[in-house]
Amino acid sequence: MSEPNVDGNPANTSSAHKEPHHLRRAVIIWAVLSVLGIIATILLSPIIMPPAASALDSADNFTFTVFTVLAVPVAMFVFVFLGYSLIVFRTKGRPTEDGIPLQPTPFIQIGWLGITSALCLFLVIWGLFAFYQETAAASSNTLQVQVTGQQWMWTFYYPQYGVSSQGQVLELPVNRPVEFYVTSKDVLHGFAIRAFGIRVDANPGEVTTTPLVTPSVIGQYEVACVELCGLYHSYMWEFVNVVSTDSFNSWIVDHGGHL
């Protein structure tokens, strides 16, 4: 192998004559911007994130924020070193001489691999833990809801009460765990309630379930279809009403169900 340029890394030695210490400068800029970025992420995320109506969704939102905090220094590293190079090392017109033929030292190679691997490992472990925490044990008062997607509406059936939501509104009592059994009559649909942090496909011929979710805030939220299901896919929106237990019970009775 004739590879002529496997020199050391002269840029990193402090003996560079008269040149400003570029590496130190860039690292300082990177550190400052990263800290600012992380602070901004922490301050802004409550404003940017949509309100969560279940512990599951707040946990997902929290994971999102944690990952963003990690991502800021990574992105800043590229932005700063790229920007610094483009501003400081640019030539006027066509360069007449060549750049310094740098090659990565073993230290840089191993360090870089180590840092990226550690970050990657953290993401995987965090993801697995956060995900398996969601598989909570079913409690005795779990509300079961059978969700059926069809072109282009959702219907909700409450087998424990023998009642079906006729007005295409998903009515749920607050602070009671719900388990959704999701299927489809025709093509693939995607059952998603952003405010609860649940999302699962409605497959024809299969019944899929979501993790156990407990709506914790009274209010109105949306069910969306998140798999392209044909002509009126984007009209396949319905409302979720999270109401008090009393209101829920009277809603059941009003719709001809038995308590």
Binding site: A71, S85, Q103, L113, V124, E206
Partner: protein, 637 residues
Amino acid sequence: MTEGKTIEGESRRTNLMQMLFPSVVSGVVLGVIGAVVFGVVVGLITQQQNQDAQLVAAYIGWTLFFFIGIGAFEGITTWGFARRELTLEEEHKLAGKGQGLWRYFRYTTDHKVVGMQYLALTLVLFFFGSMGAFMIRLEQSVPGAIFFNPQTYNTIVGMHGILMIVATIIMVSGPFGNFILPIMIGARDMAFPRLNALSFWLVFAAAPVFFSTLAFGGFPTGWTGYAPLAVQEMTPGMDAYCFTIILFATSTTVAAMNIVTTVLVMRTKGMTWGRLPIFVWGVILSVILGLTAFPSFLISQVMVLMDRVFQTSFFIATFGGSNWLYEHLFWFMGHPEVYVIALPAMATAAEVTAVFARKPVFGYRLLVSGLIGVCVLSTVVWGHHLYTSGANTALDGPYMLDTELISIPTGLFFLGMIGTFWRGKIWMTVPILFVAGMLVNFVIGGVTGIYLADLPTDEILHGGMFVTAHFHFTLVGSMVFGFFAGFYYWFPKMLGKRLDPVLGRIHFWLFEIGFLGTFLSLFYAGLLGEPRWSANVAPMFAVPNLIASLFAILIAASVFTLVYNVIITLARGERAEANEWGGKTLEWTVPTPVPLENFEHLPVVTSLPYNYGSPEPVTEKATGIAIDMPLQTQSED
């Protein structure tokens, strides 16, 4: 067959028939006749009961007779069964020697002609695809389906998707992989010149099939063509989608085999694997990945067509089929495919950076191993597209692990790029601007991929606008920017003209600012929970969608700037030098326009082409060692 010696002499006296046959004109004429005949015959057999069968038959007729008309089978009895080998004159005729501009409209085997054909096709596809994008932004700028009805909108989304996917898959490996790559490795042509022509004309033949969907009601499935919907769909426009994919997947397979073989066997003396330019690594890894990925796409579409035409039930749950089967087949192609797009564009960026920073690639072997790592790991990540399918397999964890492992070799790419910029003598040209933009966008696209790879966050983002914004950041912001870096870099070599650098800079800044504005606001819409594919934007997402649409105007302006720049350069651009940028790879050592057999004497390579800052030459020049190779090595096989 016409005798080769008479070609030159007769070329001035050829009559119109000889000029048109064989050429794309006769191909289209025969193809249309073939389509009508096949469609009518099958219509008679099925008594007009099966529109899908008729249409698929028409597409088959079109394809077959188009290739007869364009002369793909020319000489097959003479040479195809090895009754005798081609003479040099016959090879030159096939390569388009002395045919002027007509060679671009024929089944020409010269790799440079094929490269130019691919370049033109890529730009045309990009243009139509971007028009689709602007229509999407128009529709989504305000809530409610106002500008298009949902059926039209769904078709526009699907057409935009397929046009862009096809364009991005061919954008680097097609134009530069065909034109530049053989010169870069010191070859006189590709290993299989006729397959090379076949791969291009298959994409070309797919275009009318694809656009015919407009005449048959469009297709509602978007570019993914998810199966129960694709089978259920009554309008025959869906068949156009399936058949387009079949043709396109065949084309990529043919092209991939050709490029792999070329790099394996046709490197010049001294061009060891350790001296291959990064670009060649990127292209060959990409096409190897394509060879594993695309067959499953082809098969999935054959199965959908069988479900539609013969009422089989691969994907129909009531008859024992499964939509998960389709999802697996599709994403087994779909995820490696984005790396098929990514690898050559990343490699192009590395190639360009070394030239304009006047520095060797920082950590050549590390960077190449990064590309190899991406290539290997990406074959088994497709399951993350099924996280929320409800299948809940035990593999969700491993899929997540593998998906996130990809960030390690991708990190090596960033190390190589940043290291190449660092302490360089950076010449701020248009290509390097696009590389810089690519790196900025690629970081954003990369870190947002983490949220989608990780199970807990994917749960709030899957199937939403966040996904759309993420893959636009990687495919458009990163890879299309990488393509444009290559486009501005190699345009002077390919066309011999200098693109206007001022217009190039305007193109870049309009594109970059418009792009960031558009897709950063779509990230926000996705975070709020907006689903993809919405003709009717829900009112709560109206603001980010409007902002995105307004920024898209800048992207539209950038598209027209590029079109204007290309047209004005072709019309009256300055002539470029043979080595316009001072590059050291072999394509800059040959004259512009590149002669038919590329090299007078095949060069002997002695080092990596990045020895900036070192006096050693890349090739042994004028030492008398240059060797003469037989002209077309194909005939040696």
